[in-house]
């Protein structure tokens, strides 16, 4: 099996690479590339993302044919894909960080700034927060409800259809922190930085 981490200059992805390699050991081949042919021939994709929604979408669009290849992989061929942080946010139709920017439109919804209630809540939302698992998901197999995950973000994904929400976290309001729609999975938190419990989520994804 081949799991590919899509390298589209979305910022720092070393931690994602290290965690996937740690979990995969020698059993699974972890590739890091922006090569469209290699992405197409993968069994699973990981879409990381750091920085702003706009900078990540711009970086995706800069690589000729990448968006089309991702669409083909996730939407037409329905192969498993995991989006992490801004990688998840890009599933939305539109994001409002920096300026209004069109997303991949895979899961209908928008990405807007977390309401910090006039400064009552610090932003970015940085640190360990507990997740409320509200629906069974394959990537949360053997993960206990209220587990701690590591978050770093100021924007949240607000889907139009609540049935895609797998888990939320409480920060100012109930923030969507994991979604699942058929073969498409996403976490707002960073499993690669969430200690052993985070590695277990990566393991679950690899073993889908």
């Amino acid at each position: 099996m081949k799991v590919t981490i899509v390298d589209y200059n979305s910022g720092n992805i070393s931690s994602v690479i290290n965690s996937f390699k740690e979990v995969a050991k020698d059993k699974v081949n972890i590739e890091v590339t922006s090569d469209l042919g290699k992405i197409k021939s993968s069994d699973k994709l990981v879409l990381p993302g750091q920085g702003s929604f706009k900078s990540c979408v711009d970086a995706l669009n800069k690589i000729d044919g990448l968006t089309e290849t991702l669409n083909e992989f996730a939407i037409n061929n329905k192969k498993p894909l995991l989006g992490i942080c801004v990688g998840l946010q890009m599933f939305a139709d539109v994001g409002y960080e920096e300026t209004e920017t069109k997303g991949l439109g895979w899961i209908s919804g928008r990405v807007s700034k977390i309401d910090n209630q006039n400064g009552k809540y610090k932003l970015p939302h940085i640190g360990w927060n507990q997740i409320n698992i509200i629906k069974d998901s394959k990537i949360f197999k053997d993960i206990k409800n209220n587990s701690h995950m590591y978050f770093v973000h100021s924007y949240e994904f607000v889907p139009n259809d609540n049935s895609v929400i797998v888990a939320t976290t409480d920060y100012s309001s109930n923030i969507v922190c994991s979604v699942e729609k058929e073969n498409i999975f996403g976490t707002q938190f960073h499993p690669e930085k969430s200690d052993k419990i985070g590695l277990k989520i990566i393991d679950n994804f690899i073993n889908l």
């Binding site: 931690s15 920085g51 932003l123 970015p124 939302h125 640190g127």
Partner: protein, 251 residues
Amino acid sequence: MLKNRIIPCLDVKNGRVVKGINFVDLKDAGDPVEQAKIYSDGGADEICFLDITASNENRDTIYDVVERTSKKCFVPLTVGGGVRSIDDINKLLNCGADKVSINTAAVENPKVVLDSSKKFGSQCIVVAIDAKKNGDKWEVFTHGGRNNSRIDALEYAKKMEDSGAGELLVTSMDRDGTQIGYDVDLMNKIASKVNIPLIASGGVGNLDHLVDGIKLGNASAVLAASIFHYGKHSVREAKEYLDSKGIPVRI
């Protein structure tokens, strides 16, 4: 609920830990990677390396340390000390650092903070402020505390937030190394001035000081070095203590 973080900090010089953990099960007490692993296994919410390497020719040692650590520790890793440019930040992130803390360079050239937060995202840019009390205000020092910039720490903190810093790591130079506790007045004043998280540093001598940093100083995270070294307290003990005092921590 978001938990308050406990961040053990290791001083690294020429790729080796200065003032390390004195544990019997350590193979190599000077290896930062082994110590970081002990901390992360013990429940540290983040690990911080402060590179105090003095000479330029040994600067590269930190990259190797970061690279090896990031393959073993799966909690966030912050690296500071001698970070001057976008290029330095890029190299550290590529080696596996999750955040980089900028101190002197941010004072001398605030554009570094602006440019790096734009390029890499605010989430990985921490501005470290070394502050010392002078009368009824605090002044920002640079170059490891040797030079007084005369800049007002509170105004500077706000300016760094506006420049795109994702967090502030505030060290009281009056308290650093004294073990008499954080300057909670300084922490609280800065925390009330900005909307980004504050990490308190400098002066921790016992576990009550960690409680004070959060309760009185309003810090989101507390950083400490010496109380975790030499086995005086483990990270787990610290977290259990904070928990017993009603402070939300990840246990």
